[in-house]
Symmetry: C2
Subunit: 705 residues, 2 copies
């Protein structure tokens, strides 16, 4: 394994059996880097002396051609205990590493597609009504009745938006995300604004869905009466470690891990909670409507009497509409993921979109109707939990429904976990995000994006203490900004392409764009002071960041791109400096290294002690008479700075030369022993780290005991 120190290698005979030239300058032996793999039984070319490759190394690489190998899993074994433990934990959590070629693209049926891409939108029905009620509460119990009407307005909006997205699906069968549609039709800036809005929204989707999911679990606890016994349950208290936050963080961790495992396209896992939710919420609504029309619908507890702190006015109604509009989040997902559907992709996606729109519309209206009918007031228990209890009683089906709610909200977060890393990687490929977002982990998922999303969402949930309603304010701006840009982009596109029925298409997308823009304005105005300003401030910051990154990558690429008429010289003119403390085996080894770079090596001794310097001079005469020794007395006992100054001084005489500083460095036998030596080598390496024309080489010398 090449562990023998230099001193040994000169003392012992060489294992390859080659004759060692006896003169000082050993002839340079040709080394064959084209690994001799074990199936080759003997040296192929005469004159080459091969040592048969050790079995372990032979297993590490499979030879596929001359100078071409494939790294086998054996080449990837961990070297340290720390790495071994890290990999073992990672393997348990994330699974065995997958080869790049193992990637499979599952095509989704309509049923699975609804689960994968629709869960985000459908899950909004679990919290959209509550968000509206929270706004209207200030105007007293009477005002809560408005909720049903704002819900109808939202549902109409939603129908139009969904219909306009059907257009996009057919126009962009390769996937029509807002970034793509906007950038292609409205220009880069519009694309980046849409991308920034979407990235913010994906983060908020995770935070809102997970917080709502954990609220569902806790509501079930409260309803069951166990809630009182556990402290920390008050969702309205901003305690950063209340139970809601802890449960949310647990789910975020779970989803992050799941996505690092690469579950993002396994539709079956998604199908179960999605359809369980669809089935159980349908049951709740049907039973509830039946009870309502038979006059047997009662709230589980009598709703509290609310003090009127604000009169019901246009402003409040607009705010309630804004709050309900969050139901529309996630509508884009299907248009984004068209290529994941089975062929005919666009048609299947469009059918799925329609089904999703119908389900969400009826769910949202149904919940709003029942809640208004009973005059429910949001409190510790969520509205949807109250509706379910009113319909089903605190029975087993109720608990099943709560679990399904939690399930779909968690799954909804998962949609963002598929979308955020994908969008980030597209932006990274377009040089707008750091290239690290292109990195694919052990399971071929975009690990950087997944971890970034999980971390930011966890931070948000903690900072906002898991209060869904405060997060929702941040949420809707991005959704409607993306809708507006995407639909406007489609209008421009129809204008340009003028395909069949282009005028109808333009009308549909135009209506979508105008309505989205109006909603966006309403939301931005009504929610401005409630947190929407954060998003409005954040978007230009993120877009500036995209631009900075893009400028950097473009400049780097320009500076690195080889111009055939500006080829650099094949060799670098080098000045090699070997700073030494003393002449010993370690420094002789550094000098031997230096000689291989350049025949004109300067050995530099910064002299703190004249007597010792004289000894160094004499030993140099004896053991390295061919090298030029420079002594620099340092009366102030400084070492690093005079050395740097000397290098600068030499450099100023030969500005084009490259200086290589070759430093002997001990490798001590025990870790603690390194503290018995001064760490000048490391210090010098740091010193020259940023110097464009200086390299520092540490030539190791192994202390064997």
């Amino acid at each position: 394994m090449g562990k023998s120190g230099m001193r040994n290698s000169s003392g012992s005979s060489m294992s390859s059996g080659e004759e060692k030239p006896s003169n000082g300058h050993s002839a340079v032996r040709k080394i064959n880097p084209d690994l001799v793999i074990s199936e080759i039984k003997h040296g192929a070319r005469p004159g080459d002396t091969y040592v048969r490759l050790h079995r372990a190394h032979a297993r590490a690489f499979r030879k596929v051609g001359p100078g071409h190998f494939v790294a086998m899993p054996a080449s990837n074994v961990p070297a340290t205990t720390f790495e071994r433990v890290y990999r073992a934990i990672k393997r348990v959590l994330v699974g065995r590493p997958l080869e790049t070629a193992e990637e499979v693209h599952e095509r989704l049926t309509k049923v699975k597609g609804l689960a994968v891409f629709g869960s985000d939108a459908i899950s909004s029905s679990a919290y959209a009504t509550e968000a509206t009620l929270m706004i209207l509460m200030v105007a007293g119990n009477q005002a809560l009745g408005i909720t049903f009407y704002t819900s109808i307005a939202v549902a109409i909006m939603f129908a139009i938006i969904a219909f306009s997205y059907r257009q996009t699906i057919y126009a962009y069968p390769q996937g029509g995300g807002s970034y793509r549609v906007s950038r292609e039709n409205l220009g880069t800036l519009a694309g980046l604004v849409a991308a920034a809005a979407l990235l913010i929204d994906y983060v908020l989707t995770v935070a809102v869905s997970i917080a709502a999911g954990s609220a569902a679990v806790l509501s079930a606890f409260i309803a069951s009466g166990y809630g009182e016994q556990i402290g920390m349950l008050d969702r309205t208290l901003p305690h950063p470690f209340n139970l809601n936050v802890l449960v949310s963080l647990f789910f975020i961790g779970l989803i992050t891990l799941g996505n690092l495992r690469g579950i993002r396209e396994s539709g079956t896992i998604f199908a179960i909670p999605t359809y369980l939710f669809i089935a159980s919420l349908s049951t709740v609504l049907l039973v509830g409507l039946f009870k309502a029309f038979t006059g047997t619908l009662y709230p589980p507890e009598p709703p509290p009497i609310l003090p009127v702190t604000e009169p019901l006015g246009v402003w409040l109604i607009l705010r309630a509409f804004s709050a309900g509009a969050v139901a529309m989040s996630g509508t884009e997902a299907i248009a984004d993921g068209v290529p994941a559907f089975q062929p005919p992709e666009s048609k299947n996606a469009a059918i799925t979109l329609t089904a999703m729109a119908l389900l969400l519309g009826s769910f949202f209206l149904g919940v709003s109707f029942l809640a208004t009918r009973m005059g429910l007031v949001p409190g510790e228990e969520t509205i949807i939990s109250q509706v379910a209890r009113a319909a089903l009683g605190t029975s087993l089906p109720y608990y099943v429904f709560q679990i399904a709610t939690m399930g779909i909200l968690v799954i909804a977060a998962n949609t963002a976990f598929a979308d955020f890393p994908r969008l980030a990687s597209i932006l990274a490929r377009d040089n707008f995000m750091p290239h690290q977002f292109l990195y694919r982990g052990d399971r071929l998922a975009f690990s950087t994006g997944i971890i970034a999303l999980g971390s930011i969402a966890a931070l948000l949930v903690t900072v906002f203490a898991g209060r869904v309603d405060s997060l929702i304010h941040l949420y809707a701006v991005g959704v409607f900004l993306a809708f507006t840009l995407s639909n406007t982009g489609m209008v421009v596109r129809w204008q340009k392409i003028r395909g069949a029925h282009w005028q109808t298409s333009r009308l549909i997308n135009g209506t979508g764009a105008v309505l989205s823009a109006i909603t966006l304005l309403i939301i931005a105005t009504t929610k401005f002071t409630l947190g929407a300003w954060i998003v409005i401030v954040l978007i230009p910051i993120i877009v500036s960041f995209f631009h900075l990154v893009h400028t950097h990558y473009t400049r780097v690429a320009e500076q690195l791109r080889i111009l055939p008429d500006q080829l650099p010289p094949q060799r670098i003119e080098q000045l090699v400096i070997v700073p030494i403390d003393d002449v010993n085996y370690a420094s002789l080894r550094a000098m031997a290294f230096a000689r291989t770079i350049c025949s004109d090596v300067v050995v530099l001794h910064i002299a703190l002690n004249a007597e010792h310097a004289e000894k160094v001079r004499q030993k140099m005469k004896l053991y390295a008479p061919d090298l030029k020794l420079i002594l620099v007395d340092s009366p102030l006992r400084a070492f690093v700075r005079p050395l740097v100054s000397y290098v600068d001084a030499v450099h100023s005489q030969y500005p084009d030369a490259f200086v290589t500083i070759v430093l002997p460095e001990f490798i001590t036998a025990h870790w603690w022993e390194q503290f018995l030596h001064n760490r000048t080598a490391a210090r010098l390496q740091r010193e020259f780290e940023k110097h464009p024309n200086v390299a520092v080489v540490l030539v190791p010398y192994l202390l064997e005991k």
Copy 2:
């Protein structure tokens, strides 16, 4: 300043005006490292092209001969803002850096010698009586009278020890520290035990003296009545940040800084507080004795009635004696510092020792007599403060005395600050301590030792909450262990040398050795559970540490020492590997660097993407057809581990070869831009850090914008 990147240097004409060879392999130009200092007006040898050395560089080095320079202050200017600020602060605190040649050795008169070396011992009189009283308190007010008699016993002991040290002074005019005397006469182990005991004691001297000094200040506060108004004054409470601790830490910081400035031998500074203390304590004692014999001596406050919790027995008396024996600490200092006296050194030192012994003896007995006479009880106010108030009243002279007490206690700590770093540096020179303790700072002081001492003492004062009495328990063991070893060493020495009066000398040192040993036994037994066990446990640990360090340095020296019949080869057989991501200017520069090391360069591309790998292969054919390209496909997308495995595999075929890994590295124009690139280069450098036959070179490539 050599800032031009490689691409520029090929594009622009070279500033030296030299013709660039047009073939690929540029001829190696001889570089003259023997700086052309400005007085040389033109190139000395024909064919050399010099650029006149920039004025800044010319000022940095003074040429004293061919290849021999002196680094001038201009070579030592800080490079970064951080370094500039650090140096400015250091300069204010510590002073301007001194050149090695500026060191002066002041010789001390007897008067100054007493101040420099005697203050530690004399200052003991400020706390020794109190330490005895603290022990006897448990037996009630009556028992406190014993204090005077145990003080007489201590004083007799002290006379004998002092007398025996006179012997050492004459025997070791070059300075007879316990480490030296014990090591020379009793062997290395005894020397190291003495050294360990002394190092512990120096730390404790600082902690005890400073804590007592700050107690003196606070006692004055309490006496003046202001004490009650300030909280945090209770010295007996283990609050880590009570005022006593804070004042102590302030003093420790001050003395540490002072010693880093190099004040250690400036006798005048020491003389003032020492003689002020001698004068004012003499006044206190004379007035007190006068009052005592005229029957007008009264305690400042009536002493409290103490409950009897333990009967007065032999054990308690022995413990009281042990407590009083701390008065003897610091006796060694004069014997240690003989060479610092004016000639005749030994005689002057001996006279100073006698004067010191007489002063300390009478002070200690005087304070004990007055305290016993008045039946004083130690409490918040120190005993010596109570004695002074009884003699002088709460008058101006009393405050002067308190300030003098504080002054001499701080000065006493300073003795340890001279001794600890000196002993540590002697141990380091003998390879028993890390060589860092040999390092002399800007002001020629042994900075490492000073900072180590200050830090440990500060830690101790904080942990023990500034309670002097608890620290004193740790203290006396080391003092008497050093006495015993040193005197035993002298006995052995007399036995060997048999000079004039050797039998008398042996008798004196023998008596000193036996009495010290007995006292040591008493102290170790009576104080064992009170903390002496810590010292007893610590000494073997420290001695083991000395041995470990010694073994390491000896082994390293053995492994590095050049044996003329085992000279290593002049050149290292190298395999140069250049791992590249892509073929661009940065990687071409790395390849150019690699070519200067070895004609047989392997360019390694770990391929994550077959398409990109093909591009790399084609560009290599175009731009570096002379280098062998090895492609390693990495289906698991791992980069570092397969690279390491490849290096190992090549190494296993040529175990004697040295592998140099040359990596292109960007230097970004702005610091934040580095986060936009993966940091593989740094990662690989860490990976091979401990490999004895691999060096990693990062070849910088400056991104200029």
